[in-house]
């Protein structure tokens, strides 16, 4: 690994200022589980490494009791999310996704923000945040701006972040009652594996618990960047929800996906797994709604 100077700012402003002083030759580092591999392989050769670990506000995880908005600092580790009872109970789709990222050793250090910014097509962390209509708060030399989590991704390994810009936190708007959500990482094995396909579903039903009033079907590894299956979502909204219509939604989602062959699996297999799991995860959402009432 090439030598670098390690900088440890205490505030976001200080981190951005450090970057401004050495813009061509510095890189930000979060937990480091991706960045250190890139440094070792020589894919990244900064003279200055700016760590975000000491910026306290970026490691905060809390729910505003008044507004019911959930705020997840970008430096919150996967293990912190996995162990949080609030996440387990109120946001099962996040728990499903983060509890099988890498290994425990990786989750103890790796962060949700880093998982997003690394922008691999298989980022497990992105899917639930998109399904929950998460909003990313970015802070850079020109000040703050926000965007939907879905719009962070431009292409594999490429995000909308400008040089010197930091993903500070993700805000999850309040969830309507009668909402259920779940995620499945489908692959050959659970641990130390990237998903063959990742499927997240969120359903909100009306007060009769029969009619779907909101649907999110989000897919990872189904396109160059995480995607929503808008056609499948549209089919469900306003309809009486049952297994038949979820089967139909699975077919539409599979057709909408832009899956391809890769070393980990074939496109036809990925399509089949989307078809099967949209139904299966949809039914799990209905089960969650039933159990919560």
């Amino acid at each position: 690994m090439k030598a670098f100077k390690y900088l440890s700012p205490k505030t976001v402003e200080e981190a951005i200022a450090f970057h401004g002083q050495h813009s061509e030759t510095s890189k930000f580092i979060g937990g480091g589980t991706d960045v250190i591999v890139k440094l070792k392989e020589g894919w990244m050769e900064p003279d200055f490494l700016i760590s975000l670990k000491k910026i306290e506000e970026m490691s905060e995880l809390h729910k505003n009791e008044a507004t019911q908005e959930l705020s997840i600092g970008a430096m919150v580790t996967h293990a912190t999310l996995e162990k949080s009872l609030m996440i387990q109970n109120d946001y099962p789709i996040i728990y499903d996704a983060v509890s099988n990222i890498g290994s425990l050793q990786v989750r103890n250090v790796g962060t949700i923000g880093g998982n997003l910014i690394n922008a691999v097509p298989s980022a497990d962390g992105a899917i639930p945040l998109i399904a929950l209509d998460g909003v990313a708060l970015l802070h850079g030399p020109d000040g703050e701006r926000s965007c939907d989590v879905k719009d962070i991704f431009v292409a594999p390994y490429k995000t909308i972040l400008k040089p010197g810009e930091i993903l500070k936190k993700i805000a999850i708007p309040p969830q309507a009652s009668n909402t259920g959500s779940a995620y499945i990482k489908f692959g050959r094995r659970a641990a130390m594996e990237l998903p063959l396909i990742g499927i997240g579903v969120l359903l909100t039903l009306d007060e009769t618990k029969e009619i779907c009033i909101k649907a999110r079907i989000c897919l990872g590894v189904a396109a160059p960047v995480p995607m929503r299956a808008f056609g499948a979502e549209k089919l469900l909204v306003g309809k009486k929800i049952n297994e038949e219509i979820l089967i139909e939604a699975g077919k539409i989602a599979a057709d909408e996906s832009k899956v391809r062959d890769s070393v980990r699996g074939k496109a036809w297999h990925r399509k089949e797994m989307i078809r099967v799991h949209v139904r299966r995860i949809g039914l799990k959402c209905l089960e969650i709604i039933k159990n919560n009432s």
Binding site: F4, K5, G32, A191
Partner: protein
């Protein structure tokens, strides 16, 4: 670029001048001579380099040495008592065939310790979840899991 850091290593207060780009596994093995921690892949895939930092199991190959400033680090060298008696987890691995070629053992044992320190009654699934990031190429997983489960029945004896 070097920085002086202070941390606690296996119970001892340590002050050490580290290069900013050193990983923790480099510091432990190459600089301090603590070669009980193994480095397998160097990319966080195999778990052989697992150590405990502030009660959490981490891959020391993906952790910058400079970041242990002010933290408590535990390695395999810190497990046996000063008289040389093995830690109950080590005893259990020896007794139950959890050690084959031995290369993954320090990492397996440190992952097990992080789990059992927090959750002494961990069940089979919890043990599997905690050890999923440790690869054994002798594929002796059954005995390894049995070794961790057996620690529960040893009553914490350290003899």
């Amino acid at each position: 670029m070097a920085t002086n850091i202070s941390f606690i290593l296996n119970g001892d207060e340590i002050s050490y001048e580290v290069k900013d780009h050193w990983t923790l596994s480099h510091l432990l093995r190459e600089e301090m001579g603590l070669i009980g921690t193994k480095e397998g892949c160097g990319n966080g895939e195999c778990g052989a380099c697992t150590v405990i930092v502030d009660k959490l199991a981490v891959n020391s190959c993906l952790y910058l040495a400079i970041e242990v400033e002010g933290k408590i680090v535990e390695t395999i060298e810190g497990l046996a008592s000063t008289s040389g008696a093995l830690h109950p987890i080590q005893q259990s691995f020896v007794k139950n065939g959890g050690i084959q070629c031995g290369f993954c053992s320090p990492g397996m044992i440190m992952s097990s310790k992080a789990l059992l320190d927090k959750n002494p009654d961990a069940n089979h699934e919890e043990i599997k979840h905690a050890l999923a990031g440790n690869i054994c190429r002798c594929t002796g997983y059954v005995q390894i899991l049995e070794s961790v489960e057996a620690v529960k029945n040893m009553g914490g004896q350290n003899e």
